[in-house]
Symmetry: C2
Subunit: 255 residues, 2 copies
């Protein structure tokens, strides 16, 4: 503990999809009250209006998530009041799991107090722009095979496609992973109707926001990138008034 | 349009799990700026600090969701600025789909402008209190069979259980549906290890908040109610330091 410093503690903070208006008050307060704010550069930019010169900013690099989480935990264990920030919900494909793992490795007496501050995840932000495609059951699935073999990702996709629920696909495509979304579409088409509505939301709540509605069979993946969430309708999802809407019941829509 | 009234429009607003600190600014602004706020009584209570005597509150009753959504749409179409509020995320088991259906039934020229304001859903709020159980793929599934035959709910549960992803079970149990969660546990045990970590979060972010961690085989359902979200760990979820944590990869935890 720093002499005279603020009481330590670690806040794991989800900043929401991008625009300040989609942050929660708890997230804002956790960032404002931290002595040390740790995050990937773009996420620190996302909360730049909440930080000031009295705070220490620790800028992480993409791909160094383990190290970033470790720094945040180490600083909190040393008595600093730390906020580790992620876009969206830090508990969903975010850094919360990594940080909690590091905390649990400390002896019980040296663990900082930890609070996870949830946020609006990309699936929810994207769904809101499309209408209400996630109004009944849905799953979030990442198409990234950086931390798992593609066969396991595809097994999950197949099981979920067969269940008929809506899907929010995270990390659908990047320069280094150009073919996974095409493959996912083909797997989905084995189980789901070609006309299944699909929504593509890029940069939800950020500059450059785009929203596109198409059918599963027509899903062209070329414009999809790391900032896109792909929402595949449930077997009961219809397009009405330009929106994707999923019924609360499970009776399938007429074909 | 009312003469001299504010421009009409319909905001479909998710208020988050309960505590004001988990509301977004967009949600707060949408409620504050509405002339008419429509919602189930408890949800209007949840945003009572945002409303005032200059606003008209339309209090709905549980079970009359269709009518409540219709009232909100009708008032917005007549030129009022309306906010329809739900707890959590209005797009997830909320009222957004119902309202959009009603809007789409209006002639195109009579449709009010609609905005869906996402919020922190119960799965995210519950997960944050448990640690990071939803850190990789997960599904939200309702156990309510009020709007669907139980056989369809069980089919989905079975497909999801087999996929090994984490599950957030909504509407797990009520006085009128006392056995569904017991049955769900038994179905899950056909596919998942008895030691699979399970978290029960009741009244997340509200008075009477409780958090409980158990194993799937030990899941006692007696204390579970309408305000509980049940989070079933993924095949890779472990309990460390008291938290439920799911790895970012798909390599299964050692048994």
């Amino acid at each position: 503990m720093r002499p005279g410093g603020a009481p330590g503690g670690l806040a794991l903070v989800g900043l929401g999809p991008g625009a300040p208006e989609h942050r929660t008050r708890a997230a804002e307060e956790a960032v404002r009250s931290a002595a040390v704010v740790v995050g990937y550069g773009r996420y620190l930019d996302q909360c730049a209006d909440l930080t000031g010169p009295h705070q220490e900013l620790v800028v992480g690099r993409m791909g160094e998530e383990e190290e970033r989480a470790a720094v945040a935990v180490r600083r909190a264990a040393a008595g600093d009041r730390v906020a580790l920030v992620s876009t969206g919900d830090i508990g969903v494909y975010g850094m919360a799991a990594l940080a909690l793992r590091w905390v649990a490795e400390l002896p019980a007496g040296r663990r900082p107090a930890v609070r996870v501050v949830p946020g609006v995840t990309a699936a929810a932000a994207g769904a809101a722009l499309l209408g209400a495609p996630l109004a009944r059951d849905f799953a979030c699935l990442t198409l990234s095979d950086l931390l798992a073999p593609w066969t396991l990702v595809e097994d999950r996709l197949r099981a979920l496609a067969g269940s008929g629920i809506a899907l929010a696909l995270y990390n659908p495509r990047s320069a280094g992973r150009p073919w996974q979304l095409d493959r996912a579409r083909d797997v989905l088409l084995e189980h789901r109707a070609p006309a299944t509505p699909v929504g593509l939301v890029t940069n939800a709540g950020r500059a450059g926001e785009t929203v596109q509605v198409t059918a599963l069979a027509d899903l062209a993946t070329g414009t999809v990138g790391m900032n896109t969430v792909v929402i595949v309708g449930a077997s009961t999802t219809v397009v009405v008034g330009g929106w994707l809407v999923t019924d609360r019941g499970l009776v399938e829509a007429a074909p």
